[in-house]
Each structure stands twice: as C-alpha cells, then as structure tokens.
Amino acid sequence: MSQDDQDALDGLEMTGSQTVGPFFRIGLEPLFLPVVAGPEVRGEHITMRGRVLDGDGQPVPDAVIETWQADADGHYADPASAPTPGAGTGFTGFGRAPTDDEGRFSLATILPGRVAGPDGALQAPHLVALVFMRGLLRHLVTRVYFPAGPGLADDPVLALVPAERRATLIARPVAGEPGVFEWDIHLQGADETVFFDA
C-alpha cells in the first residue's frame, strides 16, 4: 500500500482554526457580498438584518457574517448537489456582510426554498450562518429560520434545539417594512443564540 493510500485510510487532521482578528476587512472585503440576490434573481426578495451583541450586551463592530442558502426552488448552486444544482439561475447562495459601528449587518437576498433533510423529510426554509470575529478562535455555526415558514413546527434540525431556545433561531418580521426580517445574534446572556457543533 502506498503512503497516499495509507493516509487516505488514516485520514489527516484538520488544520487548526485561528481568529480572524480585528483587521479581516483587508482580506475579506473584496468578497463582501451583502447583496446575495440582485433583482434579476427569481424569488421573494427579502432583507435579513440584525445586530451582533457580546456578553455585556454591547454591539460587536468587528464581526463578519456569512450565509449559505438554497434558491427559491430549494436548490443549491453547488454541482455536488446534483442532479438538481441551482447553478444557472444566477444565484450563488453565498452572502458575506460585516457589522458596522453599531454592530449591525444587513443582507439582501431571497427567501430560500425547502431542502431535503434527514430521511427525505423537508426542512423549513433557512439560512446557514457563520459568524467570525476577533475573540472567536473558531467561527460559530448557526441557522436562521423565518417566522411562520412552512415546516417550522417539524423541522428536523430545529427539533434538536430545546424548545425554550428555538426562538433565537427565528427571525422577526419588521412592522411596516414588508420583506424585512430582523435577527440578532447574542453571543452570551439570557437570549444567547443557539450555536451548533457542526
């Protein structure tokens, strides 16, 4: 057996994570994508905005949020999701937005469709969200769902979350602003957002 074959069996250890630090803007700003879906993308256009707050309830002005989602039909723009990749619709599904001095972020996108979950059951529409900042040696992984979204009551991932904490993963509609949702990320505290061991 060659060394490569042996390594494939044994596997390699993932490289260790390190914080993005306070100056990530230099490297990550060229790919800031706060507009995930332009007007040409088919679907229900929405804004997902919110604040990132630390353990003292203070806004985090140096975080960056990344999101990953399906298109309106529930397809991902990744050839690996064949036979029904969403590529070609002009929608990449990837967003990246920094927080501002008040800890606010905003992403313009579309409401994702439903995608298959365990055992073929459909998941409720959601975005996968990654959170990076100084102070986080590894990024956080979470999800944000939509209020009154189809399948919310029996979403297989939400079902793993203690009932009293599920609300931290569900965005709020904003009165008087159709299509706008708010979702705050609380790093700590009574309303600490649910984060996943992914």
Partner: protein, 240 residues
Amino acid sequence: MAHDPQSVGLPGLRRPSAGAQPEYLYPPYASSIKRAPTRPLILLPHTLAEVTGPVFGYDALGPTDNDLTRQHSEEPLGERIFVSGRVLDVYNRPVRRALIEIWQANSAGRYHHKGDTHNAPLDPNFTGYGRVLTDDEGRYAFTTIKPGAYPWGNHHNAWRPQHIHFSLFGAGILSRLVTQMYFPGDPLLRDDAIYQSIRDECARERLIARFDWPTTIPMTGLGYTFDIVLRGRDATPMEQ
C-alpha cells in the same frame, strides 16, 4: 450531546480530534471571554444545507491578487518571500479550486486598516491583501513580504508573532476555515495566546510554515511551504 448523526442515518463528516481545534472560551485570550458562547453547542446533523457550499471560479481573481508585492507603483519594503503549499481534505485528497484569501501586516508590523493604532509606519506600496484559487493538485502560491511582529493589548507587553491570516473555502460550507500561518523559530510563539489556544502540540506546530529550499529563488527571496487540511466531504455519496 445525545444525537450522533451517524445513528440517525445522516452522511457524517469527520469531526476534529480533541485538542486539535481551539475551544471557544480560552481565558488567556482576553477577547474570548465576552464573545465565546456559554451554552452547550447543539450537535448538528449534516444535511444537504451543510454539505454543499459556494463554488468560485478563476474569473473572480485579479491579475496581481497572488502577488502582494506588485499591487502598487513600487515594491513594498521588507523581506520578499514565496509562500506555497497544498490544500488537502482529511481524506488526503487535493482540494481543487479552493478559494484562499490572505491578509497580513506590512514589514513594520502595521496593518493597512483604520483600526490599527500601532505607531509603526504604513507602507504606501503594501495593502496586505491577496487571493488565489488552488489548481487541480490543490496547490497554491503567493508572493509577499514577511510581515512584522506587532504589539497588542491582550496582556502586558503582548506581541503577536509574525503571521499571515488565511481564509479558505473547500467542498461544502462546513469546510470553511480561517487560520493563521506562522514562521519557524519565532520566539513570540511561546507566549502568544492565540497560537497557544490549540492545546495539541502537533496540531499547533502544523500552523508553522516550513522554510523551503526548492521554492527559494536565488538573489530574490526565501521560500516557505504551508499545507492546509480542510474538513472535506465524506467519501461516500451524498444523500439526496
């Protein structure tokens, strides 16, 4: 942590070994105290949402994105270096078209960022930003200058060792990795709270680039190699 994804019939991605990744809360790194989650994490099954991820093409890159010494009218000050390596997944397969984004301080230890108040000079010929996509063998290469060490406020007389920040996208959103590459023989590594946050010594040392003769160019600059291992998708077919 009751739910094992394997036990509920999901395609599982291998999870990291204990100590090979930092914990969220690491008190010697002061900034982690108010920003690390305090509640137990919920074990996430790996559904289609987690095993897919963004795909990037060469059209995303500019012509000098991989050469940080050629982005301005003159060359930056400092020691020119060549950083190259391979991006592999945990199954020892090359990660093709992995997007790598890097950023770093200039040779004086100062970032081109309004938040950096270190009283070292800025270099008008150095931004400290680079991007590259790996080739079919997972290889990448950057030309840059060796970043300087710089002080920070973590504790009295705290200094960051020389480092380059790396951000990577592999196969699937869960392969996302942000890390830092360090340099061999740096005496500041011993007391650096960020580097030391990785408990396993072998895992820590894999963040240190190796000096490399073959990529050292005569009369031009030193070569360093830094290989990176991403999580990658499971070798078994994805569940639909």
